[in-house]
């Protein structure tokens, strides 16, 4: 009830209908993603192939098509969905905790930190056999969060400072990444590393799905558990504390969570910008600012956005796949400007 800005339909039937509708939209987007590509596969055939694998039916017209759909495109679409969902969640959480509409993993340098960690493991062999790529990305992301928090606190801790600190952090981590690449990488490695900086879903396979999906769902569960606490941050951390929110613990848990979620995704697909920025704002526009609705809406819309961005990246230039970060930035940068403009007007 309390989330309504203006009178709206309410109650569980509507919520159930909306949930069903958004899941249907996501399924449709994934259907589109698995049917587009160098070999066009009709939507019905693509869905049939997926059905075959799951339920043992025999709808798919050909083995080759079924193989392409299942082995390449579906895993890619699912990872895209998980990444989009996760990054959007991170954005929604960070915007609430830092009380800044521009906060998100990419802008705050968390993605850059994760890239640096991943590149360090990949090229320098940092961490020996113990540290996996995801582990390296996680350490990098945590370092970035710590650096941003430290810089922002040192600069007076205002909500604007955090963005400046994030800019400084991203520059630093990107410089370290470039340093590692130019000094230690072979030419071939260096070309591959571009992928960390712009994001790519190229090498994604089923094992990535088994990592990305649990992280996205568990992250959502933890975030949803803190929905009321996030609402209470609206007037600042003192106001949240006065409403009984254990501010220190909630911050630690949720910053840790965003670092872990962003790091997992970056270790798989590189750093993809602006999803975490654009999607929560769009979701807020549709469902209002209450986190009990904003978090699930961000989850689903982030997933749909990224799946569609991947489709666009594959069809925009014929015979060529653009890095997905290019597509999200083309949408995201103007949105960033619009949000900046609007928050200036409100202030």
């Amino acid at each position: 009830m309390r989330d309504e800005g203006r009178p709206r339909l309410d109650g569980w039937p509507l919520r159930a209908a909306l949930a069903a509708l958004s899941v249907a939209a996501l399924v449709l987007a994934i259907g589109l993603a698995v049917s587009t590509g160098e070999m066009r596969i009709p939507l019905a055939a693509a869905l049939g192939a997926i059905c075959d694998r799951i339920f043992g039916t025999a709808f798919a017209p050909s083995r080759i098509q079924a193989g392409i759909v299942w082995d390449y495109r579906l895993s890619r679409a699912l990872v895209a969905a998980c990444c989009g969902a996760t990054l959007a969640l991170c954005g929604a959480i960070l915007q609430a905790l830092l009380r800044n509409p521009l906060a998100e993993p990419y802008v705050l340098g968390i993605s850059a930190g994760a890239s640096t960690g991943a590149v360090a493991v990949l090229i320098v062999g940092f961490g020996g056999d113990v540290l996996t790529l995801s582990g390296g990305a996680f350490l990098g992301a945590v370092a970035a969060v710590a650096l941003v928090a430290l810089l922002a606190a040192g600069a007076g801790g205002g909500t604007d400072r955090v963005i400046l600190a994030g800019v400084a952090g991203s520059q630093l981590f990107n410089a370290v990444t470039s340093y590692i690449v130019t000094t230690s990488a072979s030419a071939e490695q260096a070309r591959g590393v571009m992928f960390w900086l712009l994001g790519s879903l190229g090498g994604v396979r089923w094992p990535d799905v088994y990592l990305a999906a649990p992280v996205a769902l568990a992250g959502f569960a933890v975030a949803a558990f803190h929905a009321r606490a996030l609402d209470a941050f609206a007037f600042g951390s003192d106001a949240a504390a006065a409403l009984g929110v254990p501010v220190g613990r909630v911050r630690a848990v949720l910053f840790g969570l965003t670092a872990a979620m962003a790091a997992t995704m970056v270790s798989m697909v590189g750093s993809i910008g602006f999803v975490g920025l654009v999607v929560p704002h769009a979701a807020r526009f549709l469902v209002g600012p209450g986190h009990a609705r904003l978090l699930p809406a961000s989850l689903v819309m982030g997933a749909i956005f990224m799946v569609l961005a991947d489709v666009v990246s594959r069809i925009l230039v014929p015979q060529q796949v653009l890095p997905i970060g290019v597509v999200t930035a083309l949408v995201g940068a103007p949105a960033f400007a619009a949000i900046l403009y609007r928050s200036r007007r409100l202030a």
């Binding site: 009830m1 309390r2 989330d3 309504e4 800005g5 203006r6 009178p7 609430a96 009380r99 800044n100 509409p101 909500t159 558990f225 803190h226 929905a227 009321r228 606490a229 609402d231 209470a232 609206a234 007037f235 600042g236 003192d238 106001a239 504390a241 006065a242 409403l243 009984g244 929110v245 254990p246 807020r284 209002g288 600012p289 209450g290 928050s343 409100l346």
Partner: protein, 255 residues
């Protein structure tokens, strides 16, 4: 319902800001905190609801040390209206007031009709019921303040702490809000700058100067010309209102 402070000290940036304050606020009564800018009124209120931890001394609520209470337990009984409140979030009036229910709802507990009623009652009490759907950002300064007060009322506190709740309000709403606060069953501590309002609406006054209490007691015992001169550096004459019988301060300035 009893708020008691015993030799409370707090310092920040190496400066003592609250310096050995001892106070006793009787259940259901209203205590006015007055004092010049920077005398420590806001800091003291933050110590009472444990937004800051005392360096030494104790704050007790009904005999329980607040330092020993979990944050949630404090929030369930003490509500604070800060001197200023701002947000980037696009909330409307009702959503802001609904935040007051946060301590009474668990992480996953559903919003109930009792919660909705508490919100509506609070909106009515501050005269903002008709504005329930208006965006916070479009409210005037005084309307924002009334909404924050409604948020605190929706918290259904046993102890209510108000930091200059009237500083943006027109005269009618100043009188209404302070009258409302005084009638509430809660124990109230309110920081005020207007000595006449403080004298009219508070059962007791405590005068802070540089973090220390320099006078405390019923308004008629506390407010006198010598105190106003020494604490605020202002010449004044204190009389009695023939209408309500409370002290009335007249400032002696040449205009």
């Amino acid at each position: 319902m009893t708020i008691r402070l015993d030799a409370v000290r707090w310092s920040a940036s190496g400066r003592v800001i609250v310096d050995g304050v001892t106070l006793d606020v009787a259940p259901g009564s209203t205590l006015g905190l007055v004092g010049p800018n920077g005398s420590g009124k806001s800091s003291l209120l933050r110590l009472v609801c444990r937004l800051r931890r005392v360096a030494s001394g104790v704050v007790t609520l009904d005999g329980t040390d607040v330092a020993a209470l979990p944050r949630l337990a404090v929030a369930r009984r003490v509500a604070l209206v800060e001197q200023q409140a701002g947000t980037e979030a696009q909330l409307n009036v009702r959503q802001v007031v609904a935040l007051g229910r946060t301590p009474h709802l668990g992480a996953l507990a559903p919003w109930t009709t009792a919660d909705a009623e508490a919100v509506e009652t609070a909106l009515d009490q501050v005269g903002m019921a008709e504005r329930r759907d208006q965006p916070w950002h479009t409210l005037s300064g005084g309307e924002r303040q009334r909404v924050q007060i409604a948020r605190a009322l929706a918290q259904e506190p046993r102890e209510l702490l108000l930091d200059e709740p009237t500083n943006h309000l027109d005269i009618r709403h100043q009188l209404e809000i302070l009258g409302l606060v005084r009638r509430l069953p809660a124990t109230v501590m309110v920081a005020l700058h207007d000595l006449n309002l403080a004298a009219m609406f508070c059962d007791t006054l405590a005068v802070l100067q540089a973090g220390r209490i320099v006078a405390a007691g019923p308004p008629e015992a506390v407010l006198d010309e010598e105190l106003i001169r020494s604490v605020f550096g202002v010449r004044a004459r204190v009389g009695r209102s023939p209408h309500h019988g409370r002290p009335q301060v007249e400032y002696l300035v040449d205009v």
